[in-house]
Amino acid sequence: MDIHDFYDKMDRNNILLSFKGDITAELLTSILQIIESKMDNMQEEPKLRKKVYIVLVELLQNLYHHMDDPSLEEASGEMARTAIFMIGKENNHYNVITGNYIKNDRVPILKKKMDEINSLSPEEVKEYYKRTLNNGQISEKGGGGLGMIDIARRTGKPLFYDFAPINENFSFFTLNVVIEQ
């Protein structure tokens, strides 16, 4: 592996932090602490800092809860357990990218949900959030399907996603969230 090439790629994309591996609760705590202190050092505006922080929490916890999805156990160890996470800052916006394996049968459901969110105006997203908060059932993990709606609501931006087919059972799901001032 060409480390310098790898370094250059990260540098060009202004990556502040990236991680590939098992997503544990301890890891989430560390990532959040690192990003918080980085934004502190960069003297980021409190408003943007909060937005980035809470979007990170939602994205990382999505990955974390995804890891104990029982259907993933059928997958080989690597596919089930690991994910990739990256955060970068370009000009005045942050990019947060996550990637993880997902069962093919989950793809249409997730795609439909994100397309629906992306089709709504900011006001409609707020209404959708409120409606889901009030009506949605709390899943065992406590999520209730609010995470994606909340991210769209806070950023006011579409959810950029991709599903790359891997084999007959799995795809690789990439989500890119843009956070602006």
């Binding site: 908060l133 009030n134 709390i138 995470g147």
Partner: protein, 127 residues
């Protein structure tokens, strides 16, 4: 009479509930991975409290951040308080938000639109 005191952590808020005084305070960050488990003792305590609540019940909520998993649990807490209010007992909700934190102010307004309780929106200055 029940007293709950939970210290804050980087992922969970402090909770102080004194059923005799009718005072509940939730303060800090609420971003635990398992929010249902975290809020369970408070929700259960409020269920018991509803049978003989103090008058009034004063609730101070001052959150810096909360994740969506917590937002459901906070609604659960507010719904318990709404039951107490519906039973003819006064419930005062003070919802604190840092100046410029429109998201947190809106979150309070969203809750107010869902539950039948009056929120006093209190702006606090940044540290």
């Amino acid at each position: 009479m029940e007293v709950i005191v939970i210290e804050s952590t980087p992922k969970t808020p402090s909770i102080k509930f004194d059923s005799k005084a009718g005072k509940l305070e939730i303060k800090g960050r609420s971003i635990p991975e398992n929010s249902v488990e975290f809020y369970k003792p408070l929700v259960e305590s409020l269920e018991r409290y509803a049978s003989s609540p103090a008058t009034p019940t004063q609730v101070d909520i001052q959150l810096e951040y909360f994740n969506t998993a917590s937002s459901k649990c906070i609604l659960d807490v507010l719904k318990r308080l709404e039951t107490i209010h519906r039973g003819g007992n006064q419930v005062i909700i003070n919802w604190y938000y840092e100046e410029d934190d429109e998201d947190m102010r809106e979150a309070g307004e969203d809750y107010q639109a869902i539950v039948n309780l009056t929120f006093n929106m209190q702006q606090v200055e940044l540290d």
